[in-house]
């Protein structure tokens, strides 16, 4: 009898967990995961504040099992402590109240970079859907992250992570849909929308990409009419980005390029500036201090209904080439070139 009591006492290894079928550990209340393993939520969890689930272990697979973690206060729904990596979270809902962060990692950019994989999540009504202070690999697949009071995915990193963000939706971001410091990520097949709620004088962006390299292909990026702030579909601070076959609709400016050596091709960019706020360029190439916005190739895009210019090169953007683009119904001119050495390489219509 004494032995039986001892065994029973050992079974709940973690607060709020118990052994479940298939060898997975069941989670049924807020708590901390402090050992590697496979965990499964077996009911909805609701907290009034603080962190609902804290992960203090690496090699953790957390299956939300169709259930939800919800908070009515602040904190994080899932907080991953500094230094823990190889985390996979999938198959459920993370529901906030505009004050919480759904998934958070990294107290600073100096935290050890995490490898994080997110699949089949529905993340609704949070301040940030995903907030990473430091990432090495970020994979987001088939997730729906919406009603973000700030930014849906915000990833800083000193190491410029790689990874994929595919087949997901980032909707109603009040600030940015995606704000990524990255070093070669693939963004493909996503729907991204911004919806600023209040006038803060800042540019709101569907996807703001910082770093080096990467692919943006086949994404659909939209904004709203009459936003209180300017919006842009994509803003590239990153060099060496291949941006192809995206649809960008109804922004103040479709694409803003601050960086060098990007190829922007085959995109459909429409109704830039027709949302009631200023700007109104389809593709706007303009430098930042120390970055001349040079050597970009802009080709075979359809840029329709730009309030100002289909292509705008601000001084001193330099040595960019554009060819084979089709530009229609531009309010000022098809090309407004205030830069140096930007070349019409032919075939533009």
């Amino acid at each position: 009898m004494r032995c039986l009591l001892a065994i029973v006492a050992l079974l709940p290894l973690l607060s709020g967990t118990a052994a479940a079928d298939e060898g997975r550990t069941a989670i049924f209340q807020p708590g901390t995961i402090d050992r590697p393993g496979s965990y499964v939520l077996n009911r909805d969890i609701v907290v009034a504040g603080g962190d609902a689930i804290v992960i203090r272990a690496s090699q953790v697979d957390l299956d939300l099992n169709g259930y939800a973690i919800r908070s009515t206060g602040g904190g994080a729904l899932i907080q991953i402590a500094d230094g823990f990596s190889s985390i996979r979270i999938r198959n459920g809902r993370l529901l906030g109240n505009d004050e919480v962060v759904a998934i958070a990692y990294g107290s600073s950019e100096q935290a050890p970079p995490i490898t994080l994989r997110l699949e089949d999540l529905e993340v609704d009504g949070n301040l940030f859907g995903v907030f990473l202070g430091s990432a090495a690999v970020l994979d987001i697949t088939s997730c729906d992250i919406l009603r973000c009071a700030d930014t849906c995915v915000l990833s800083f990193s000193a190491v410029e992570p790689t990874g994929r963000i595919v087949d997901s939706r980032f909707a109603q971001a009040q600030y940015n849909g995606l704000h990524l410091v990255q070093g070669g990520m693939e963004l493909r097949g996503n729907i991204i929308s911004t919806e600023p709620q209040s006038y803060q004088r800042d540019q709101r962006v569907g996807a703001r990409i910082i770093g080096h390299g990467g692919i943006l292909d086949g994404n659909l990026v939209a904004s709203i009419d009459q936003p209180p702030d300017r919006t842009a579909g994509v803003e590239l601070f990153a060099s060496g980005i291949l941006m192809t076959n995206n649809v960008l609709d109804r922004h103040s400016t479709g694409v803003i390029v601050h960086s060098n050596g990007n190829r922007i091709a085959g995109n459909v960019i429409r109704r830039s500036g027709f949302n009631g706020v200023d700007d109104g360029n389809g593709i706007d190439v303009w430098n930042l201090p120390g970055d001349p916005a040079a050597g970009n190739l802009i080709e075979v895009n359809l840029i329709d209904e730009s309030l100002q210019c289909a292509l705008n090169f601000s001084p001193p953007s330099a040595d960019n080439a554009f060819r084979g683009n089709m530009r229609f119904a531009s309010g000022v001119a098809p090309v407004c070139d205030g830069g140096n050495g930007n070349t019409d390489a032919g075939g533009n219509l």
Binding site: E22, A26, R43, G66, V268
Partner: protein, 347 residues
């Protein structure tokens, strides 16, 4: 002791036909009305001859059909009904057989929008519409199939111009032998259709009204060519139609809207013996303008009719670098104004 046991069992069964299952998922083993959020799993096939086997009257509900089937008689009703204002509904992994509708959103109790996600569900056959989500905030359907329905998917929302959440995504699905339209998307702000297969849709594979679309890498084919359209863009629907294949349809792409880029598609027309007036790509229709579209890098092979037709209501469109050399049909039939051959076309 017995009284406590009875009380305990009663509290576990929140809803008729439901009890606690492994890993906390709630099993469904009979017709049920779900009134609480949670994760539900079907544990056996359910067959009814009338009524609706599963009614959903709660938000944040996940239903794993677990490889099982819901079956109704051909005129019996719905298989799953979602009642307004329920939202955030996910349904996966099973079969919906028979009935007039597979999944239906009922707005009779209000007009709140809903978000619905469907994954790996096979529908066959539904007498009316396999999936009908009126006033959708978001809709996603992946890796599913719809066979032998009148209409495959009908998604609507009246607030597309004001609500950017209003989006739809269809990826990796198969639509076969649909009497009317494979997919009707009207009023969604953003729409992605990728890697889907449409065969033998009676009127059109995709009928898109309003919003921005990204329609790529889909396959459209028809056994009976006359009257069939691959992609039908109307009412301000614009976007990118890229790298799709069309075989044997009377119209491959019919754009009655502005500012589309139609590129990289392979369109093979129906056999000349099919008759009719086949077209590879049609711009405009009587009373429906199609302006400022870009048609490029397509391969269109027509045995009869025209590879590209510009109707009198089409203006200022551009076509270039298309291979339009057909096996009997004409290359370009231009009845519009300001439409430009920008070079590189092969006739």
């Amino acid at each position: 002791m017995k009284r406590f046991l009875v009380l305990g069992l009663a509290s576990m069964s929140v809803v008729a036909g439901v009890a606690r299952a492994d890993q906390g998922r709630i099993p469904i083993f009979g017709p049920v009305t779900i009134t609480q959020p949670g994760s539900y799993v079907l544990t056996r096939d359910i067959t009814v001859s009338s009524g609706t086997p599963i009614n959903i009257q709660a938000s944040n509900v996940t239903i794993d059909l677990n490889g099982h089937s819901l079956t109704n008689s051909p005129t019996g009703g719905r298989l799953i009904t979602i009642f307004s204002p329920s939202t955030n509904i996910r349904i996966a992994n099973g079969r919906l057989v028979g009935g007039v509708r597979g999944i239906d959103y009922n707005t009779s109790t209000g007009n709140a929008g809903t978000s619905v996600s469907i994954h790996a569900v096979d529908f066959e056959p539904q007498g009316e519409i396999a999936v009908d989500i009126s006033n959708a905030i978001s809709f996603e359907m992946t890796s599913s199939s719809i066979t032998n329905a009148y209409t495959g998917v009908l998604i609507t929302n009246p607030n597309a111009t004001t609500d950017p959440r209003v989006t739809a995504r269809l990826v990796g699905n198969r639509f076969a032998r649909i009497t009317h339209y494979g997919v009707i998307i009207t009023g969604m702000r953003s729409f992605i259709a990728t890697d889907n297969e449409f065969s033998d849709s009676g009127l059109a594979g995709i009928f898109l009204v309003m919003g921005s679309g990204l329609i790529t890498r889909n396959v459209f084919s028809a056994g009976v060519a006359l009257g069939t359209i691959g992609i039908d863009l109307q009412g301000g629907a614009t976007g990118l139609v890229l790298d799709n294949t069309f075989k044997g349809l009377e119209r491959g792409v019919w754009a009655m809207s502005n500012g589309n880029r139609i590129a990289g598609n392979l369109i093979i027309g129906p056999p000349a013996s099919a008759g009719g007036s086949p077209r590879g790509i049609v711009l405009g229709a009587s009373g429906f303008a199609a302006d400022r579209n870009l048609i490029e890098i397509n391969r269109i092979d027509m045995q009869s009719g025209c590879a590209i037709q510009f109707t009198p209501d089409s203006h200022d469109n551009i076509y270039r670098i298309n291979t339009l050399r057909g096996s009997g049909g004409l290359a370009v039939c231009n009845n519009g104004t300001g439409n430009v051959d920008a070079g590189g076309n092969v006739y």
